[in-house]
């Protein structure tokens, strides 16, 4: 399978490149500013590449169908479900996982706010909640409660710690607008 179309199409129409896979192929990801080189089959999702082929266990596998937000990472600064894309597709684009939020041993203001507000119970949804919050506040530094709910609607918390989570987002918004990050 995967025969390239070379020879069957004219040069100006372009030639079909070789298909990669199904066996392992090299893949270079940029995770939290560090280059990660792995060998994966093309079917491997970004979530699996992060958790199983490198050591980023922050993104969680829960529903594995793009509904719960546990696997949220930032790709080009935008929240995406890492279970819903191929790792190969994330090459050459900056990826931020929860491991990349704290700097030099200092928590990100959103993490601080979650801690202060006790915005979790089991903590399993927390990495996704944190990243969705970071993305929301970047786009909308002073969201209303309704906008917070909309911004986090893709992150489910089955402990239902939502009220504390919304408090934390509001607290983080206040703190960050008082001392904007460089």
């Amino acid at each position: 399978m995967a025969a390239a179309g070379a020879g069957r199409v004219s040069a100006e129409a372009g030639e079909a490149p070789e298909a990669l896979g199904p066996g392992p192929v090299p893949c270079a990801l940029s995770v939290n500013g560090r280059e990660v080189r792995i060998e994966i089959e093309p079917r491997v999702t970004l979530l699996r590449a992060l958790r199983h082929y490198s050591d980023y266990t922050g993104p969680k596998e829960i529903c594995d169908r793009g509904a719960c937000g546990g696997c949220t990472v930032l790709l080009d600064g935008k929240p995406v479900a890492s279970c819903m894309m191929l790792a190969l597709d994330a090459q050459g684009r900056p990826i931020t996982t929860v491991e990349g939020l704290a700097r030099d041993g200092k928590l990100h203001p959103v993490q601080e706010a979650f801690k202060t507000c006790d915005a979790y119970q089991c903590g399993y949804c927390t990495p996704g909640m944190l990243l969705s919050t970071v993305a929301l506040l970047k786009e909308n530094p002073a969201p209303s409660l309704d906008e917070i709910k909309r911004g986090l609607e893709g992150n489910l918390c089955r402990c239902a710690a939502y009220n504390h989570i919304f408090d934390a987002v509001q607290m983080a918004a206040k703190k960050m607008s008082a001392s904007p990050a460089k």
Partner: protein, 305 residues
């Protein structure tokens, strides 16, 4: 990836020409855009083995949203001059998030951001594409009805050339589309509706948010000076086996004055025109009732405008 297919290969073309050449292979590879439908099947182990064509690697398919020049000149509207034709073009990889962020599209085509925010959550909207929603041909697609109500056309490209197909002619049955296997949706062109057009978008699901539609109506009406209906579009999702434009009901309304008699006639016509589906999300009976209610609400609120 609870279970996975073993035989999955990916072509990552660097140019559109390479992508179109790839589609001429036998069997043709399956285009993969945002992946928010295909990856669900992959992770569930239900995806057909084969070769997939990764569109994100093609810069020509990532072009930003284009608004044709005439539209920017909003100051001439209502000044007696001819209305500018105005058109918005989405590219193959334009996402729901792109549309939600685009102030001009929000103003010119307000049903698009309304639909966009109904589709999954932010994480899905960052990836999922309008063209993918069209190609996937789900009867419950939320992005397709407003595009069809706006008279969008689908730009289909192949190594042999480009052709435009009206979105309202694109579906012929459940998952049956006008796209040939060697063609790729490279763009969606949407004419800007006449100034003063009134739109209606309502999705009915099991929950208010994060639900797949049981019934959805996207409507657009253009009224004349004496309240006559110049043009009307009524597009339903989740009611028929594919996104359905209720042409019979539209034609009963066009040319008629918008008054209570016209509304009841339209609802009666719709009741016989629709042959709703019965599936896991709802029953035919419920869908017919709610579809008629939505039409009544659309025309009723328009009468009050």
């Amino acid at each position: 990836m609870k279970s996975s297919i073993a035989d999955f290969a990916v072509i990552s073309p660097r140019t559109l020409a390479e992508a179109l050449a790839s589609l001429r292979q036998t069997p043709p590879p399956v285009p993969l855009a945002g992946g928010t439908d295909i990856m669900v099947l992959l992770n569930a182990g239900q995806l057909e083995p084969g070769v997939y064509l990764n569109l994100y690697s093609v810069p020509e398919l990532r072009r930003p949203i284009e608004v044709s020049a005439g539209v920017r000149d909003a100051g001439t509207w209502g000044a007696g001059g001819a209305d500018p034709p105005g058109e918005v073009r989405l590219s193959a990889l334009t996402t729901y998030a792109d549309v939600r962020r685009h102030a001009e599209v929000r103003r010119l085509l307000p049903m698009l951001p309304l639909a966009a925010r109904e589709i999954g959550a932010v994480q899905i909207q960052s990836r999922a594409t309008w063209a993918g929603n069209i190609a996937n041909a789900s009867p419950a697609a939320d992005g397709v009805p407003p595009l069809m109500a706006y008279d969008a056309t689908v730009e289909l490209s192949s190594a042999a050339g480009v052709r435009q197909v009206a979105l309202s002619e694109f579906y012929s049955g459940y998952k049956q589309t006008a796209r040939r296997p060697d063609e790729l949706i490279t763009g969606i062109r949407i004419p800007v509706p006449a100034p003063g057009s009134i739109d209606y978008f309502r999705k009915v699901g099991t929950r208010k948010f994060q639900a797949i539609s049981k019934v959805l109506l996207a409507g657009l009406v253009e009224l004349g000076g004496s309240r006559e209906i110049r043009k009307i579009r009524l597009v339903f999702a989740s009611v028929m086996p594919f996104t359905y434009r209720a042409r019979k009901t539209e034609s009963v309304l066009e040319g008629r004055r918008l008054e209570p008699g016209a509304v009841s006639l339209a609802v009666e016509t719709l009741r016989t025109e629709l042959k709703p589906i019965d599936d896991i999300r709802s029953t035919a009976r419920y869908r017919l009732k709610v579809a008629c209610n939505l039409l009544e609400e659309f025309l009723g609120t328009t009468m009050g405008c």
